[in-house]
Symmetry: C2
Subunit: 208 residues, 2 copies
Amino acid sequence: MQPERRRAAILEAAVAEISERGFARTTSRHVAARAGVTHGLLHHYFPDHDSLLAAAFEKVALEEIDEANEALASDRDPLAQLREITEPYGPGGGEEAYRFWLEAWAEAYHSPTLQETSRRLSVAWHELVVGVIERGNAAGVFRCEHPSETAWMVVALSDAYALQCQIGSGLAPYEMNHVLWRLTERELGLAAGALARPTPAGAAARND
Amino acid sequence: MQPERRRAAILEAAVAEISERGFARTTSRHVAARAGVTHGLLHHYFPDHDSLLAAAFEKVALEEIDEANEALASDRDPLAQLREITEPYGPGGGEEAYRFWLEAWAEAYHSPTLQETSRRLSVAWHELVVGVIERGNAAGVFRCEHPSETAWMVVALSDAYALQCQIGSGLAPYEMNHVLWRLTERELGLAAGALARPTPAGAAARND
DNA sequence: TACGGTATTGGCCGATCGCCCAATACACAA
DNA sequence: TTGTGTATTGGGCGATCGGCCAATACCGTA
């Protein structure tokens, strides 16, 4: 197999192992077995364990940003863009992905590399939301006074939403979704329910 | 040493180890060494590794609830109570404590016991905030339409606040604190800045 | 064809893990 | 005092870890 594809296969296996077992319990031998190679070969591509974990984390982080940008580029409507951003956090969406991030945050304490990547990704994610809000402001769809603060609120509530879904607290998912949408609508100067309904084909949701 | 005190000492050492190294990397031998006992004795008190981790987690969870109730009981003013709840999340507050919770959430995926305890604690914490809000409503201090939703928002933003402080994103702590207070004030029908300042008619500026 | 570098294999090493267990120290009741 | 149960010690076992290395397979090039 070509070295590039082999390396990618190993990284893919590493991400899967990390999602299932966590960073600390991910062993190079298990990753190698899942990738269908021997542990010796894995050591050939990733000389030490930390480089494997760091590369896997970097891969997921880059994919996350790419997917977000792709979702934003496919739809130019700020309202739809905001929905694209907040929706994947819910149940059935990116559960495995969020398990990965929770592991990453916990592991960031022990690894300066992971901490730095976490930081970069957090900033990038925040700026992404800020961009959507500011474009919505410019287009006259939003009336948001503090884009940076509101963006942080959206990210924070989305994170907390995903977290509550994961640990399965007594709070019903629909209730979390409701408060997330309600607060976002108010922060953006939208009419109540503007985010809840996926803009019925035409321009029917312009009743404010 | 009395068995009860010995067991408590072991648990205390376990909590410290978990906070530093995480659940997955916490070994019974290290816990025993920190507690000043042999690994054989630790096995005498906690027959298997999971029981040690579960007991340590349970200890912290109970202490968390107790401390919150104590803080709430020491001050009957709903506004001060709310400040007591949201303040420890900030920098300089419960950094080590939050590291523990992050580890716990990540580990909950792999342990039904930890997941159940996480769930119970999350519900208890939410109900605690709901109680403060409802008492504030009854006292005429708050005008909150959706206590449950608002309580979840407070908890979610506090969690996200602590998380951002931990990973050290580009968002300044004061900015996070500002949006947390601003949204809470609006949800509770308070005047702007009501939460930021200790007490308007206050004689004691015991806050930092 | 011969050659050199890379991909790949599988065994090995020392360290460490959770767990087990025989032996010993100790405290308190009979 | 004797005896009994618990507290405590420390060594050992099998498994597994990350990392190292000699040997082999493969493949493009001179």
